[in-house]
């Protein structure tokens, strides 16, 4: 069973290849460069490095968001097109889940986090137990302050992971105090091996795989708001 893993949902580019239980290759670059130019050449180079041809692949696993809209779309488009045209199954997993799975083997709550600007984050809550990951609170787009207050109510320590959680550390620590621990730079991004470890998840029809943006397009949100107002004034 040869699997290709792709995550381009943030500016980090993560690609991995596994064969059975062996992680054959991992490639991560953590620079703000154009995914559209780099992803396919990176996949081609990594596969050629381990003497793998497209036809050898048995499965694709892709992070389908949340994250950068364009980044997510590039990864998902490549993954679903490859899976469809190679007639192999695809599993789409949360980019936040794969970041949580990149945490060290602990027992307890893990909170992966991507920055979403203006005090907002893309985040979710996961429980790591016996090396298995379980979703506790679903992925969402939320003000970091609201999110921390919600986590505080659980009354359990939470490990924050991901390089973009670092910029919110102060706010998180102020609200959660000793209930918050930070992996910071030791778990900066999704490790391809962690994404590969989630490949046993539900298989989907490639044509049905879509990004999870966790947020409406701005035009759509504005339109809904305007129509809500209109309905209210019509009443």
């Amino acid at each position: 069973m040869k699997i290709l893993a792709i995550d381009t949902s943030t500016y980090t580019l993560s690609i991995g290849l596994s064969d059975g239980d062996v992680i054959l290759a991992e490639q991560v670059t953590n620079v703000k460069k154009n995914h559209s130019i780099r992803v396919m050449p990176a996949i081609e180079a990594l596969m050629s490095e381990v003497d793998m041809k497209p036809g050898d692949l048995n499965k694709i696993v892709v992070a389908n968001g949340p994250g950068s809209y364009t980044g997510v779309r590039i990864g998902v488009t490549i993954a679903k097109t490859l899976a469809w045209t190679l007639h192999i199954p695809i599993t789409a997993v949360s980019g936040l889940a794969s970041l949580a799975a990149s945490a060290p083997l602990i027992e307890g709550l893990v909170c992966p986090m991507f920055d979403a600007r203006r005090g907002q984050v893309f985040t979710g809550l996961y429980r790591l137990s016996n090396g298995l990951l379980k979703s506790v609170k679903e992925d969402q787009n939320v003000p970091v302050v609201d999110w921390c207050q919600e986590l505080l109510k659980i009354g359990e320590p939470v490990l924050f992971v991901g390089q973009e959680s670092i910029m919110h550390e102060q706010v998180i620590a102020e609200i959660m105090g000793s209930a918050a621990a930070f992996a910071g730079k030791s778990v900066p991004y999704t490790r391809p091996a962690a994404l590969l470890s989630l490949a046993s998840g539900m298989e989907q029809d490639p044509s049905q795989v879509v990004p999870n943006y966790a947020r409406l397009a701005e035009a759509e949100a504005n339109w809904l708001k305007a129509n809500e107002k209109k309905e209210k004034s019509d009443e």
Partner: protein, 340 residues
């Protein structure tokens, strides 16, 4: 020995149509599938780039699947993958470009990036062979250009709009007349029922120029409506639409005829979404009907609007010329036709 047939799989996602096609030898449509998003953009009064990109990634595999099914072929039968690499909405372009790269990689096929306007021009080759030199009038929501071609794959822009594209002016005038988006077809329909009574200006710019300008005309329409309102007079929408259309069509026809004569071309091609406009088609057919030795070619309406058949048709010429793109190909929102 018989020449082997060339099959090109084309992909187009530069705006609000998700499209794929298979073309044989650059001239025969084997399959041509277009999934339009127009309904979901209507409520916004125009194409919203982020929403267009979202639809493309949702629809693309279904469009590919239907294309291969209708063609009765697989990627093993293809000689290359051609895809629009620009100009267009960058997020939308990137879906098609990355899907094309994935297919090219999976099946070890050549990858060919195509200029969207070159595609519109080559739509004509799906109807009748092109003969050179030729002049193409490209009119769409984003473009108004006169493109001279001395041979296949060679494009020289001899005139272009200095402000609004013709299609943009149509949409803005339609909005002024409270017509729904997209406004072009509504203006065309109203114009057919009205008379050119409002004596709107013909903006021809300086002597000898092949450039266009439509923003002054658009303002003239808005002022006409505004002045009528202030005087408490009723506007006749049919007549105003007819007057606006007459001005656009007069200028387009006059410049195209002059360019065709000066460049001594054998053929004139109409290309782009506004080529669906009945007033423009009739005027060009009329004008060139009276000129000997210059053929006018106007593709059927289904090939005027965005589609992937035209991209595969243009891609076939590039394929034959040995042009190739790498897996590092990007989407180029402002791609120049003379340099692509």
């Amino acid at each position: 020995m018989m020449k082997k047939d060339i099959f090109i799989f084309g992909i187009e996602t530069s705006c609000d149509e998700t499209a794929a096609a298979v073309i044989k030898n650059g001239t025969d449509i084997i399959a041509n599938v277009v999934s339009s998003q127009i309904e979901s953009h209507k409520r916004f009064g125009g194409v919203v780039p982020e929403i267009a990109s979202r639809h493309h990634v949702e629809q693309i595999i279904a469009v590919f699947e239907e294309t291969l099914e209708r063609a009765g072929l697989t990627f093993q039968d293809m000689d290359a993958i051609a895809v629009t690499k620009g100009p267009g909405l960058v997020g939308a372009l990137l879906v098609g470009v990355n899907a094309a790269k994935a297919i090219a990689f999976a099946h070890d096929l050549p990858l060919i990036g195509v200029h969207h306007i070159a595609g519109h021009i080559y739509a004509n080759r799906l109807v009748q062979e092109m003969s050179f030199p030729l002049m193409s009038l490209v009119v769409s929501g984003g473009h108004t250009e006169l493109v001279y071609m001395k041979e296949h794959g060679s494009f020289e822009v001899i005139g272009e709009t200095r402000d609004d594209a013709a299609g943009e002016a149509y949409d803005k005038v339609a909005r002024t007349l409270s017509l729904p988006y997209p406004g072009g077809p509504h203006i065309d329909r109203l114009a057919a029922e009205g008379q050119d009574t409002y004596s709107l200006p013909r903006i021809r710019l300086e002597e000898g120029s092949y450039d266009f300008s439509f923003s002054g005309l658009k303002s003239a329409v808005i002022n006409t409506v505004h002045n009528a309102e202030q005087r408490g007079e009723e506007i006749n929408p049919e007549n105003l639409a007819a007057s606006f259309q007459a001005s656009v069509v007069d200028v387009l026809t006059e410049k195209t005829v002059r360019a065709a004569k000066e460049y001594d071309v054998k053929q004139v091609l109409l290309a782009g979404g506004v080529a669906a406009n009945k007033g423009l088609r009739a005027s060009l057919e009329n004008a060139f009907g009276e000129i000997e030795n210059i053929d006018i070619m106007i593709p059927p309406i289904s090939l005027c609007t965005d589609n992937a058949a035209m991209i595969a048709a243009a891609g076939t010429i590039l394929f034959e010329q040995g042009k190739r793109d790498g897996l590092d190909m990007n989407g180029h929102p402002g791609l120049d036709i003379e340099e692509f």
